[in-house]
């Protein structure tokens, strides 16, 4: 029996720093996805929301908040919170309901309104909270991205020019994406001229935080057929595995890795797509487009290797070959990625799936990867959360 579900419709509210209530973005994205699917709101049987923790109680119960905003109509509700993987876990809940036969068609939606300035921890003296402790001694988010970047330079010979080339590529990709926040082309010289934040990373190497909303209408393959959309893109796998002890990479917000004296060291990022490939029954050689979490330019190169698009250490070579540019063998971040969007946490993983759905339908316009037949997303966030989703035709 197929464990696939169909993506009947997708919708987004453009990313930006709009400063409005997150519910507005979620409703706009949901209505766009419903219209795209040709499904009436009253026909939705399951609503799955990705939570936001920065918008009070309505954000903690996002599924219900969006359902109420669209008009209570008796659907079953779910809300998922899993940091950067919140959208994927909300999607996994909808998929489980569909595959179990509890619902035929579901709305999955995530939206966020982000505060201005630095992301800082909650107030008060809290030495038991690792997030408080690391800020207390001066360790911010860019610290971690910079440590990974410098490590790549030392181990694999990556250069500052390679990192800048990721920004230039993604800016080029996102330039004409109507949902992207930053639509401006940049040169390597622009990146090099931006302020140093955490050596070797400059301001333009690091992604911002944004407001935005994204939604999907997903359903059983039977339902898609009845809707006359038997050829709709399918979700073939959703991986939301945890890390495995002992985790060998220093992860935000920790001050130390696990100790690997009695357990083998593991790489978490690599485990996420590995499980997705296994579940989908396809391999990296079948992938012709990817959307990855480029929290920093250098991190995109780590993802190339974790997705097994190339061997460990050869991410910069793959970039330099042009393979990951539009027109290349396996374009990465045709949407423009976080470089052009900025991160809207509960919406971001869903936005990645929206882009792949457009790519599979051949409707991505100038961003289209010709003949796209299988794509993969990948993201990773705090406290052992991450996800990887495979979408195919």
């Amino acid at each position: 029996m197929s464990r696939d579900i169909a993506i009947l419709g997708v919708g987004m509210h453009p990313w930006g720093k709009w400063g409005r209530n997150f519910v507005e973005y979620g409703v706009a994205a949901a209505r766009a996805a419903l219209a795209d699917a040709g499904v009436k709101w009253r026909d939705i049987q399951f609503v799955s929301g990705a939570a936001t923790i920065r918008n009070g109680y309505p954000g903690f119960v996002a599924g219900a908040t969006f359902a109420q905003a669209l008009g209570w109509q008796g659907a079953a509700i779910n809300t998922s919170y899993a940091a950067c993987a919140s959208g994927s876990q909300a999607l996994a809940a909808a998929r489980a309901a569909i595959l179990a036969g509890n619902a035929e068609v579901a709305l999955v939606v995530g939206a966020d309104t982000t505060p201005k300035g630095f992301l800082a921890p909650a107030k008060g003296e809290r030495p038991d909270d690792p997030d408080w402790v690391r800020f207390r001694i001066g360790i911010t988010n860019p610290t971690y991205f910079a440590l990974y970047a410098r490590r790549r330079m030392a181990l694999y010979g990556d250069t500052l020019e390679d990192f800048a080339a990721v920004k230039v590529k993604n800016a080029e990709h996102g330039f004409s994406n109507p949902n992207a926040r930053y639509r401006k082309k940049f040169s390597a010289a622009d990146v090099a001229a931006s302020a140093m934040v955490a050596d070797p990373l400059r301001l333009m190497d690091i992604c911002a935080t944004s407001d935005g909303g994204a939604a999907l209408i997903v359903c059983s393959l039977d339902y898609a057929k009845r809707m006359g959309k038997a050829n709709a893109p399918r979700i073939a796998a959703i991986s939301t595995v945890t890390p495995s002890f002992a985790s060998e990479v220093l992860e935000m917000p920790d001050l130390a890795t696990d100790s690997a004296v009695v357990a083998e060291p593991h790489r978490y990022r690599a485990a996420l797509p590995a499980r997705a490939y296994e579940d989908a029954g396809i391999g990296p050689e079948d992938i012709n487009v990817a959307e990855v979490y480029d929290l920093s330019t250098a991190l995109e190169l780590d993802w190339y290797e974790d997705l097994q698009l190339c061997k460990r250490g050869e991410g910069a070579l793959l970039l330099r070959s042009g393979a990951t540019r539009l027109g290349g063998r396996v374009p990465v971040n045709p949407s423009g990625g976080l470089a052009c969007f900025g991160e809207a946490v509960p919406a971001q993983a869903l936005a990645q799936v929206c882009e792949l759905a457009w790519q599979m339908r051949g409707e991505a316009g100038v961003r289209q990867v010709p003949g796209a037949s299988a794509g993969i997303t990948a993201n990773q966030g705090l406290f052992g959360h991450g996800s990887s989703v495979i979408v195919k035709r």
Binding site: G138, L147, A154, D254, A260
Partner: protein, 144 residues
């Protein structure tokens, strides 16, 4: 009068600066900061831990700096003085530990793989007095 910014996380008793971690009495896994009452090794259900002074030196895994002033609860001097940050690999514990680099040493003086040692230095001068923290320092080369 100076006090540790985090009570019980490090010590320089006997003039030997070291981090205070803990070790599972059942499987031997090290933890920093100290573990609570449960071992996080999935094959171990240990609940007893002994304090374990961590290795005082290791190899530089990677490094960076803070060019901008971090947000609160970090307390910065006026004007803010950028500082380097090191992640150091401890061989015996098979773990990597993060910390600031001693003041006066910038990223230009650092190289992945170089030997580093732990020292206790001032973190900040605050209303409650001077706060100390652990920092990493390049090991002086022999004969230089």
């Amino acid at each position: 009068m100076s006090t540790p910014v985090l009570e019980g996380w490090f010590s320089d008793a006997g003039g030997q600066a070291h981090l205070i971690g803990s070790r599972c009495c059942k499987c031997g896994t090290y933890y920093f900061p100290k573990a609570g009452n449960f071992c996080r090794n999935p094959d171990c259900d240990g609940t007893e831990f002994e304090d374990a002074p961590l290795s005082r030196s290791g190899k530089l895994w990677s490094y960076t700096n803070a060019s901008y002033q971090p947000p609160a609860p970090y307390i910065a001097a006026e004007p803010f003085i950028p500082f380097a940050i090191a992640a150091v690999e401890l061989e015996r514990e098979r773990m990597v530990v993060l910390g600031q680099v001693i003041s006066g040493v910038g990223v230009d003086a650092l190289q992945v793989g170089m030997p580093m040692e732990l020292v206790i230095e001032t973190l900040s001068v605050e209303a409650g007095g001077e706060k100390t923290v652990w920092k990493w320092k390049p090991v002086a080369e022999q004969g230089s």
